[in-house]
């Protein structure tokens, strides 16, 4: 089961479009679900995601124009409960213990957040945390160098293999991280 995790596109506020090399990778039909951390910011990006996969979940970022996206969402994929939240609401931003508070509240195995435009994937107290970064490499005042990135989760029963795709010096680099549910 392939799940695409991405967000913080910030089109058109900060960036013109998704990098061409990423667009090529995201061909329709291969991915079952999309979990988007928010800050698309407009309808066009949402429609684009719908062409990549039919099942798209979006949570509200601080610059999204659609007021109807929820603040948080929990979806179940395979054996995993996955929490989704943009992250600008979680103070301090990017703090693992603060994120853990949300994990406990949502009661999820995997918590996905964004906002920092910095890719993260780590285990903390036996739970898994993913930040797909910014798929477009959009500007963030707190990050000197934002690298465009997104994540693909391959969920098989109680194991999830996470592939992170990063655009470094115009080349796509892939890394692999595994997480097993305990």
């Amino acid at each position: 089961m392939l799940v695409l995790v991405l967000g913080d596109l910030h089109i058109p506020h900060r960036v013109a479009s998704l990098p061409a090399k990423f667009r090529k990778l995201l061909s329709p039909g291969r991915i079952q679900h999309i979990l988007c951390t928010g800050n698309l910011c407009t309808r066009e990006s949402y429609d684009y995601l719908k062409t990549v996969a039919a099942d798209v979940h979006v949570v509200r970022g601080d610059f999204d124009d659609n007021l109807l996206y929820p603040e948080q969402k929990v979806v179940t994929v395979g054996q995993f409960r996955i929490g989704l939240c943009h992250g600008h609401q979680i103070v301090p931003w990017g703090d693992p213990d603060a994120l853990a508070m949300v994990q406990r509240q949502l009661d999820v195995d995997i918590l996905i957040t964004g906002h920092t435009h910095k890719f993260e994937a780590y285990e903390h107290e036996s739970k898994f945390y993913i930040n797909p970064g910014s798929a477009t490499g959009a500007y963030n005042p707190l990050e000197n160098r934002v690298i465009p990135s997104f994540v693909l989760m391959d969920i098989q029963s109680s194991t999830v293999v996470t592939y992170v795709y990063q655009l470094i010096d115009s080349e796509v680099k892939v890394e692999r991280i595994e997480y097993k549910k305990s």
Binding site: R14, A16, F63, R104
Partner: protein, 803 residues
């Protein structure tokens, strides 16, 4: 023989007549073959004559006549084969001629004479010239258009392979000629004569019969056109027609016939036919004659299509030759020639519809692009001419769906597609003028087309002049226009347009920071006039680009000693830009932009950094206090302000203190009690991980103030929340906060406090109504308990906590 053809017989009647005729043909053919097999030539010829007699009919439509003709001429093949055989055995030609004269009517007689003539030439080629001459002359005997056309077609088909095709030579005249019976000149004369006669017959059809049948007559003429065209095809197949012959003899004769026949159908077809059948090199060398003839055609001939066909063909030929590395032998200035000719044609036809004029310009531009891709001024010339014409005709506000509009859009899109670089449009002085002739929707459509092209090609617009020009071209998207429709546009379409424009703004970029600043100013000037509906889409990209520019100045500060003043100026620029959004009665967007600005400022240690950052934060606060009234929005906004402040470390105490205090105050003044509790809880982070100049950039870690916040949050939850479900939920959240700070090392959070809260929760939880919500709260609590246990087993942050 009836003179008025009864072309009016209905289709069933036609089928019946045709079947009858075919039946007779079949029967007579059978008889003919039997006689020939027995060597009875005379009788065979009689049958042949009878079957040919069917071609005398006036009752058949051209389509039916054609079928009959095919059947008949098929059968004549047999006769031809027999005769060739006979002749080779020694039978005299004169005998054959003698015999054939016996055919009663002229149509059968002529078909037979042609057949015999063909046989004669096959067996004695030296007599070709004379026989051909005779045959083409004697066909004059049939003046009926339909019958005559087919008869002459038969002549053409029969002589397909036997036309002499050798060059005229000065010397050895006698010997060469005697072996081939003629030269290519004789063939040319033959075909040209046949062509001229056929064209006359064809034209005559136009005037036959009643005027009410004209439409059907014209259609039938169209059905027959290829019969006439075949003559030209035959000429093109003669290999010895070199360029010189073509120029001197062939083309002039054809053109004379075409022009002098004064028939629109013939002219239109034949001119295009000439273009199709003869090689492009010939056309290149005869342009002037051909185009002159075009100007002399009948008024209702569609000259535009002819010219366009020629231009496109020559453009393709030139490009192909260039691609193959060849060189065009002539030194022609194709573009100039066609440009002038097109102008002449337009002037000579006062009634030419404007869309046809534009269609001609389209093909001229294609010519310019294919043959002279680097001569941008040619394209500009065409655009200029078109502008002139539009001015002359007083055209304006052309709609995209009108015929003219369609051609105009095509014309304007060609340079965009060909160069794939919208900056080339800068070199086309007339482009903007021409664009203005379109109506509002047309201008917008073209603007979006330009933008999409720029985005696809990632074309960077790198200096202020270019930016000014491009934004001017697409002004229909940027500002209200005089001819804008009064009704409000569809919101989705509008949002799509403006988003596209927003994306485009990211292409306005220069490597040089000073130039980039000028670019942003230019863009701001254009976009600022867009009105309150547009600026929410268009100004944020400018603001974010400015934030990035400020950081760029900082990163190259060693090379520019004015960098600090410049940063300040940029943030002032942003302040003004965001304020424009506030004036447009927006609140949430400018608030967020101010907060992002504060973050940006906090990372750039320029002179006055603290003052400017404080100004941005207080602007955000003002918006919060004055403009945001919805309670959900308020909670979200104050949370964002707190979260932002937590990240900013450039404030001294005299600034940080009021900011912290105001956050806490605002939190405690939220309308709903649960919101208050949560917001106050969130403020605790300001006192822990918040940084200031006073703390030397380190975390403040004010244990007491943190505890105060949490206690206050707890108090609100315990005493002022009426809903017990919400209460317990808040307790669990606050418990997590206690644990968070305890883990981070806040000594004032004693285990006793935590245990007290745990007890309270354990007490209240069972009292809650059992539903989904209480189950979630219960799970939350269980997870928290598990967390304590697992941490306690490794470290002693949670020492003495009893769960």
């Amino acid at each position: 023989m009836p003179t008025t053809p009864q072309l009016g017989s209905p289709p069933d009647e036609q089928d019946k007549l045709l079947d009858e005729a075919l039946g007779i043909v079949k029967m007579q053919a059978f008889q003919m073959k039997r006689c020939l097999d027995k060597g009875r030539l005379m009788d065979g010829l009689k049958h042949a004559s009878t079957l040919l007699g069917e071609l005398r009919t006036s009752m058949l439509s051209p389509k039916s006549y054609y079928e009959l003709y095919m059947a008949v001429t098929d059968e004549l093949r047999h006769l031809e084969i027999y005769l060739v055989d006979e002749f080779q055995k020694g039978r005299q030609v004169s005998d054959l001629y003698e015999m054939v004269q016996y055919a009663g009517s002229i149509v059968p007689r002529l078909y037979l004479l042609i057949t015999v003539g063909l046989v004669y030439i096959k067996t004695k080629p030296s007599l070709s010239r004379d026989v051909l001459k005779d045959m083409v002359e004697m066909c004059r005997g049939v003046q009926h258009p339909l019958r005559g056309l087919f008869l002459r077609n038969y002549l053409l088909q029969c002589t397909r392979n036997i036309l002499p095709d050798v060059a005229d030579t000065e010397g050895s005249l006698e010997s060469e000629e005697s072996s081939t019976g003629g030269t290519v000149q004789d063939s040319i004369d033959f075909v040209l004569m046949n062509f001229a006669e056929m064209n006359k017959l064809w034209v005559r059809m136009q005037h036959q019969g009643h005027s009410r049948d004209r439409e059907r007559r014209e259609k039938e003429r169209q059905d027959l056109r290829i019969l006439v065209g075949t003559n030209l095809v035959r000429l093109s197949q003669l290999e010895c027609i070199d360029l010189e012959k073509y120029i001197k003899t062939v083309l002039p004769s054809i053109l004379e016939q075409v022009v002098s026949c004064r028939d629109a159908i013939a002219q239109e077809y034949l001119m295009e036919c000439i273009i199709q059948v003869f090689p492009d090199e010939f056309h290149l060398s005869t342009l002037h004659s051909f185009l002159r003839a075009c100007a002399e055609l009948q008024p209702n001939v569609n000259v535009k299509n002819i010219i366009i066909a020629l231009i496109d063909r020559l453009a393709a030929f030139t490009q192909r030759t260039k691609d193959e590395g060849g060189v065009i032998s002539t030194d022609l200035q194709l573009f100039d020639i066609f440009s002038d000719q097109v102008a002449l044609i337009i002037m000579s036809k006062p009634d030419i519809p404007s869309e046809d004029i534009v269609a001609l310009q389209v093909s001229l531009i294609n010519l310019a692009n294919k043959c002279y891709p680097d001569k941008v001024h040619y394209v500009d010339k065409v655009l200029g001419k078109t502008t002139e014409i539009f001015n002359k005709f007083n055209l304006e506000r052309i709609g995209q769906i009108t015929p003219v509009g369609k051609e105009l859009m095509k014309l304007l899109k060609i340079p965009v597609d060909n160069y794939d670089n919208v900056l080339t449009l800068l070199k086309l002085e007339n482009y903007g003028n021409l664009l203005d002739f379109l109506d509002y929707d047309g201008r917008k459509a073209l603007a979006m087309y330009l933008i999409n092209n720029a985005l696809e090609n990632e074309t960077q617009i790198g200096n202020p002049e270019q930016v000014d020009f491009m934004l001017g071209l697409i002004s229909s998207l940027i500002q209200d226009q005089a001819d804008q429709p009064a009704e409000t546009p569809d919101p989705e379409d509008f949002a799509e347009e403006q988003s596209l424009l927003g994306r485009f703004l990211h292409l306005l970029v220069s490597e040089d920071p000073d130039e980039q600043y000028l670019i942003l100013n230019t863009a701001r000037r254009h976009l600022g006039a867009g009105g309150n509906k547009r600026i929410p889409f268009t100004l944020p990209p400018v603001v974010f680009a400015a934030y990035q520019l400020a950081f760029r100045y900082y990163s190259v500060k060693d090379q520019d000693d004015k960098w600090q003043k410049k940063c300040q100026k940029i943030f002032q620029f942003c302040h003004g830009t965001i304020s424009a959004l506030t004036k447009a009665e927006l609140a949430e967007l400018p608030l967020r932009l101010f907060l992002q600005g504060a973050l940006a400022i906090s990372r750039i240690p320029f002179e006055n950094q603290e003052t400017v950052a404080y100004e941005f934060m207080s602007q955000a606060f003002s918006l919060y206090e004055d403009e945001i009234s919805d309670s959900k929005a308020q909670l979200a906004a104050i949370t964002l302000i707190v979260a932002t402040l937590e990240q900013i470390g450039c404030f001294g105490e005299e600034n940080h203190d009021p900011l912290r205090t105001n956050c806490a105050l605002a939190a405690s003044k939220l309308l709903k009690k649960p919101d208050q509790s949560r917001a106050v809880g969130t403020c605790s982070h300001l006192f822990w991980s918040g940084k200031s100049v006073a703390s030397g950039g380190e975390q403040i870690k004010d244990e007491k103030r943190v505890l105060d916040c949490l206690k206050k949050g707890l108090k609100i939850a315990a005493n002022q929340c009426m809903d017990s479900m919400v209460q317990v939920q808040l307790f669990v959240e606050l418990l997590n906060h206690y644990l968070y700070f305890k883990k981070k090392g806040n000594q004032l959070i004693e285990a006793s406090l935590v245990n007290e809260l745990v007890e309270k929760i354990k007490e209240e939880l069972p009292n809650l109504e059992n539903n989904e919500e209480s189950q979630q709260i219960s799970k939350h609590f269980t997870n928290t308990v598990d967390h304590v246990k697992s941490v306690a087993s490794i470290e002693d942050h949670y020492k003495d906590i009893e769960v």
